[in-house]
Symmetry: C2
Subunit: 400 residues, 2 copies
């Protein structure tokens, strides 16, 4: 059983800050600093080029992938880290499409994170093979699978909606998609480290995700990709880089994909970012995911209850039923942007998503009941005294 009062001490959080934005960028694990300094000083500085073998840099994408694998229900040897999530989405989709030649539809939803749809758009345009992307409302995806039927090539969804926190029924949608012969790609950006995921149990074909949100790998930490073992040796990589080659250092003129998940590697992995991610995963290795989920639900419920009791102008945008949510709670408010600025000014950090959503991530590793209560009290005060109405809170920054 994980002791969440102990894990909080493993993170560096600025004094007085209640950080409810770990679903955008997780905080700094205390151990990350020493781990990265050691990577610089003892590995890069001392071992130089030999670090690729002697410090294990070359093997690190697989090792880190396996540790993430445990959190998402993937068997060892089926997950690898590298690149950005956008690239991993492209890689998964390009691979999936070649496994379903002749089928024309990529089905996603209107709640998917834009970059997933943008990457799909770019791929479809490049291929110029008549694919089309459909994006119904999240709740209509199941019916749409059936109506598209055998023209459905790939179902590509983000499990948890980045605005509302609504969670798809992964197992049911995979079952429906497989029934019409389609492949399924899950973006776990808001799932990995948020609750237990079981990609193998649900029979997912591909899963991708980032490591800088719930996993706390740091700004720009590498993404991950999982491919079901039954597909991994059949996939022809579109992004056929040398580190996915069967023998990268043979410098063969022709590409020959490496075994299984190895072929999803592309270029030289980001060693410093991997060092920070390693420190973050040292914490995750100790976490019981069912206990984490129970605590996450408790924090979310406490927050919903507190806000609904004290802020009548806010409307819950997240599903009320815990099983339908990820690990965030969102409310709608016409002046949401300003309200969030007012909260941030008072050291309660969440974020805003256009047009009117204020969003709060609940991350049991370092957020407790006291943080929830402080956030509720601050938000109620801001709403009761209309602090959001101050002009300084209405100027928009590029990133919120």
């Amino acid at each position: 059983m994980t002791d969440f009062s102990a894990t909080k001490r493993l993170f560096t959080l600025p004094d007085g800050v209640t950080y409810l934005d770990g679903n955008s960028l997780g905080p700094l694990p205390v151990a990350a600093r020493d781990r990265v300094v050691s990577c610089l000083r003892d590995e890069w500085g001392e071992l130089l080029i030999t670090g690729w073998n002697k410090a294990g840099w070359m093997a690190q994408p697989r090792a880190l992938g396996d540790r993430i694998g445990r959190l998402i229900g993937a068997a060892p040897g089926t997950t690898v880290v590298g690149d950005t999530l956008s690239i991993k989405v492209y890689q998964a989709l390009a691979s999936a499409l070649t496994l379903r030649p002749g089928r024309r539809v990529i089905l996603s939803d209107s709640g998917n994170f834009p970059t997933d749809l943008y990457m799909a758009e770019g791929l479809v345009r490049s291929l110029d093979q008549g694919h089309r992307i459909e994006t119904p409302a999240p709740e209509d995806v199941g019916d749409r699978i059936t109506s598209i039927g055998d023209d459905l090539a790939v179902l590509m969804l983000t499990e948890v909606d980045y605005r509302t926190g609504r969670r798809h029924d992964m197992a049911a949608l995979i079952k429906a998609a497989h029934k019409v012969g389609a492949l399924v790609i899950w973006d776990l950006a808001h799932s990995a480290g948020a609750f237990p995921v079981d990609v193998a149990g649900a029979d997912a074909d591909f899963a991708v995700g980032c490591t800088y949100k719930y996993l706390n790998g740091g700004p720009g930490a590498p993404a991950f990709i999982h491919v079901a073992p039954r597909l991994a040796d059949r996939v022809q990589p579109a992004l056929s880089g040398w580190l996915g080659h069967d023998a990268p250092f043979a410098f063969d003129p022709d590409y020959r994909p490496g075994p299984g998940i190895e072929r999803m590697r592309v270029g030289t992995p980001p060693v410093l970012q991997m060092a920070a991610l390693e420190a973050a995963l040292d914490i995750w290795d100790q976490v019981d995911m069912d206990a984490l989920r129970a605590q996450s639900v408790a924090l979310c419920e406490r927050f919903i209850e507190g806000v609904e009791a004290s802020c009548p102008d806010l409307t819950l945008a997240s599903p009320r039923e815990a099983a339908m949510r990820g690990s965030q709670v969102s409310f709608r408010f016409e002046h949401g942007y300003a309200a969030m600025q007012a909260l941030i000014a008072r050291s309660v950090i969440g974020d805003f998503r256009a047009p009117d959503i204020i969003r709060f991530g609940f991350t049991p590793l370092y957020i407790d009941n006291g943080d929830v209560d402080r956030a509720v009290a601050t938000l109620s005060d801001i709403m009761a005294t209309r602090q959001w109405d101050r002009p300084e809170y209405h100027t928009r920054a590029a990133v919120t």
Copy 2:
């Protein structure tokens, strides 16, 4: 005028090591450690999500790109960092092909680094539009451009051959390719930071490169891409990620490419790696590239002269004429692998490239005449006493 005896002190090099492998992985700049620690502690740790604006993380890919731009002759605003070199090759090639519809040939050469050819192979297979890749010997590229004529879509070359150090005549090949209406992509992996490059003066269409070799950005440092300003607003990105969108934080459902080089951005940039790269570029900002080239030529000539005078069994694999070389010197030797292992055992670090090349990078920022003389003396001793014949030097590691 750059004082190269002073720049050596700006790098951490292990005691007693002569490091002639900076063309694989540059050494640690002394200032990188503090810069990365500050990025962890003061930025990620303290600013958390607001670091994207307050610490300038979001603007960093452009800022670093401009600083690299100076080294490669690219105007400000035409170069951006991100991803790996493999991804940047794919991005450039996919973009170039869409600008030359109907043309079928991608011309490279047999000396190109394998991942460039692999990425092209993967793209061609995905597109399935009848493109073919031709790889004549490096010295035959000029003639081949003419013989392919108006079926040539893209000429894609690495300026300096990673094995021999042979350097293409960039300006002449661009001129020939443009004459038949083709576009040109240069991989500057062994050029950026090795000698002055003038992509604008030579009229290159695209240039890509990595920052962990001569530029000393650290293991897994991000790559860069330059697009000629006359093309930058016409390119339709295949890798259309959210950070290349015209308004990334508007979360539009449809992709709309950002202005100019912005559209070559894809996903979230690697903040820790960028911090290390920034420290490396602080040094480069002070370097006179013509002085660097003169010193590089002097070091290479001294090495060639020394080795040829004392090691009759080694055959120069690099061009004898300095103008035809990059900043490395390669020799052929049947037992090259073992000879390099023997050198490394005696703290002279170069590398080996199959089947028989031993390779030495000369990097004036931290390599001086004393290093060259030590390398020559050690190599001569190994050759004269057949130390390469010891069995322990014949076991192959995965990375050399």
